[in-house]
């Protein structure tokens, strides 16, 4: 029987904690690390020396402190040297980025996603991006792994969305493609778009410090990244968070998943465009036009925004009752809808959610914007390095 963690495990844990701290908070002085991590000064010194030896951080004297006494050395993450590849397969575009430790996007490639292209078929395109990105990588740089954010919807040839389940299936082929491209075998972690964005906002966006968060993400469909007690709620097969398919109208409109009256059929971009009497295939651009028209006083657009906003509040109220989150974030194209229909969303929430649950919930829009998918995907990739910094 073991009595406690071995010295080696404690060290690994401390190394991970220190590296994670500078990864999330940026350059930090040794003195601050000592107080933040609750470790001894000499322990911090030894840990920093180990991480610096592995080329993960650098130490330097601060430029000017304006204070008396010997300045404490500042520990910086090696953002330009230690990197991960982050990919995002969205409903209308695919993106690949090289992201440095500390969450900086160092280099970026974007392309449109052709209609009818399955997520798994995007792998060769991503491998091509990596080939381009890899040209500008310095020789001494350290590649730690890759993360990919996958949207579960794809466009059919006619531009309308269809549900596919490929989040997990993409990791293996992408991993193989990257191994041949880069010549090294490193883990590739896949996550749903909503989950990945939730992770990014939780780590360095608007939900920092909140451990119970629901990130609602809408592109062609609606899904959610749910963080409970600081951990992502992914479900048994990684298929959790499909809040867009909660049935809210048993006799409602048919949904792309085969069911009827899913929440998505009431708050999706298709529903909004249909309610406003616009062409449903105009997608995101059309959706923004409706919101814009509503703000300028177009009556049919206003009615559509109110109706969809009302349904948005209906679902959010149910989620708030179930999960009791501190924060609900409206991401993707829900950001614009929420800001344009906040009165409806709030009113519905206030009349349906339990007082104890709704009192504390903060409704917010994301802070990281479009970058959330890439930053979150990079977080997935850095996860293993942060768990055991000296293994790579």
């Amino acid at each position: 029987m073991r009595i406690g963690p071995s010295q080696e495990e404690v060290r690994r844990q401390n190394l991970g904690a220190l590296l994670r701290y500078v990864h999330i908070h940026g350059p930090t002085s040794r003195a601050e690390l000592t107080s933040e991590l609750g470790l001894n000064r000499s322990t911090i010194g030894a840990l920093t020396a180990d991480l610096a030896g592995a080329g993960l951080v650098t130490e330097a004297a601060p430029r000017e402190t304006g204070r008396a006494g010997r300045p404490s050395l500042v520990v910086r993450p090696e953002s330009s040297r230690v990197y991960a590849y982050a990919f995002s397969i969205e409903v209308d575009q695919i993106r690949a980025a090289r992201v440095g430790l500390g969450g900086q996007v160092l280099d970026l490639r974007v392309d449109e996603r052709p209609h009818g292209l399955a997520a798994t078929d995007a792998v060769p395109l991503l491998a091509e991006f990596v080939k381009e990105l890899h040209h500008s990588v310095p020789d001494d740089a350290l590649y730690v792994g890759s993360g990919v954010s996958v949207c579960r919807m794809m466009r059919r040839d006619d531009g309308l969305p269809r549900l596919t389940f490929t989040t997990e299936q993409i990791a293996a082929p992408l991993s193989a493609a990257l191994a041949t491209e880069l010549g090294v075998e490193r883990p590739v972690v896949a996550g749903n778009a909503g989950d990945v964005a939730a992770l990014a906002e939780h780590a360095r966006g608007t939900a920092v410090g909140c451990d119970n968060v629901i990130y609602l993400h809408r592109d062609a469909g609606v899904d959610a990244g749910i963080i409970v007690g600081g951990r992502r709620l992914s479900g048994h097969a990684g298929q959790g968070g499909q809040v867009g398919h909660m049935v809210v109208q048993p006799n409602g409109r048919p949904c792309s998943c085969g069911s009827r009256g899913c929440w998505e059929t009431e708050i999706g971009e298709y529903a909004l465009l249909k309610a406003a009497g616009r062409d449903p295939s105009t997608r995101t651009a059309g959706m923004l036009t409706v919101v814009d028209a509503a703000s300028r006083g177009d009556a049919s657009a206003q009615a559509a925004v109110r109706q969809v906003g009302d349904w948005l509040g209906f679902g959010v109220a149910n989620l708030v009752n179930v999960f009791n989150p501190e924060m609900v974030i409206f991401g993707g194209t829900l950001r614009e809808l929420y800001l344009a229909a906040a009165a409806q969303v709030r009113s519905r929430l206030n009349s349906m959610a339990l007082p104890a649950a709704r009192e504390r919930v903060r409704l917010r829009t994301p802070q990281l914007g479009e970058d959330a998918a890439l930053i979150g995907a990079a977080e997935l990739a850095f996860e293993q390095l942060l768990a055991d910094p000296l293994s790579t």
Binding site: T206, E266, L288, V291, D292, S295, A303, R306, Q307, D310, W311, G313, F314, R335, E336, Y338, L339, A340, A341, A342, A343, Q344, V345, R346, S347, R348, L349, N350, S351, R358, E359, V361, L363, R364, T365, Q367
Partner: protein
């Protein structure tokens, strides 16, 4: 959130000659929260703000700042307490750049000359601290900025001077959808950073999107100050237009039109 109010107005009265504009108005403003001040045209919103910021003297009532009674005799007193007002017309100078505008009248000096590098750095830090990414260069003239960017600069200017209370008078009026979204997010971020924010708006969506509390003025009287989590859109509209909604607002006999209101719960989408 039971935080002590930062600014409290008690029993404020204001008359312009025979017209009583504010009648016994109470308002509490809490740090870390956005308090939306709503009311119909002529309800006294702007007058109240001008009383708080020291432009108009009050006829009766008192102000408490951080629990201490204070007297506000002029804009200088208000600024000294850390109360900044961002007006609709922004009061930025078109012919100056962003840094010059943010430091206008309070320029930093090193010796005889202006300390441009420090000012530029402070301006950049303030904008970065508010996650403002839309401004390309700090040396851009304000005349070249969009409405939303101007609003951003005006708000950042208020933040730069370590204000404790920021009052925004219709910051999203006359802005496009994308710019409105940016400004609303900025307003929310100010409060999340611990400032007390007062938002005057006619737009119910803006009010519900960012506010924690709603204070409704009706014909010069504060009819209700409620938590945003406790009211519906319809109730707030009733407070604004009739001064009463259910148990909220003025007592029934005070209203002369005598209309009764009933709360009804409809299915989503049924209202329109």
């Amino acid at each position: 959130m039971s935080v002590t109010p930062l600014l409290e107005a008690r029993g404020i009265d204001k008359r312009f000659g025979p017209v009583q504009v504010l009648k016994d108005v109470d308002l509490t403003v809490t740090p870390g929260e956005v308090t939306a001040l709503v009311g119909d045209n002529g309800a006294g919103k702007s007058t109240l703000v001008k009383c708080i910021s020291g432009i108009y003297p009050i006829d009766a009532g008192e102000f408490l700042f951080d629990g201490q009674p204070v007297t506000i005799h002029g804009p200088r007193d208000a600024a000294g307490l850390g109360i900044e007002v961002v007006y609709q017309d922004l009061a930025l100078c078109d012919n100056l750049d962003i840094v010059q505008n943010m430091f206008l009248g309070r320029e930093r000096r090193s010796g005889l000359v202006l300390d441009e590098p420090t000012m530029e750095q402070m301006a950049a830090e303030t904008l970065a601290g508010l996650s403002v990414r839309t401004v390309k260069s700090l040396r851009q003239h304000v005349s070249s900025l969009s409405g939303g960017q101007r609003q951003t600069v005006a708000i950042a200017k208020a933040v730069l001077w370590n204000s404790k209370v920021v009052i925004l008078d219709e910051p999203t009026a006359a802005l496009g959808v994308a710019q409105t979204a940016q400004v609303l997010e900025l307003v929310r971020r100010l409060a999340d950073r611990g400032l007390a924010v007062v938002l005057i708006s006619h737009n119910m969506n803006d009010v519900f999107a960012v506010s924690d509390r709603i204070a409704a003025l009706y014909l010069g009287q504060m009819v209700a100050q409620v938590k945003t989590t406790d009211v519906t859109h319809a109730q707030v509209v009733e407070l604004i237009t009739a001064g009463r909604s259910g148990d909220l607002g003025l007592a029934a006999e005070k209203i002369d039109n005598g209309v009764e209101y009933a709360d009804t719960l409809t299915t989503p989408g049924a209202e329109q």
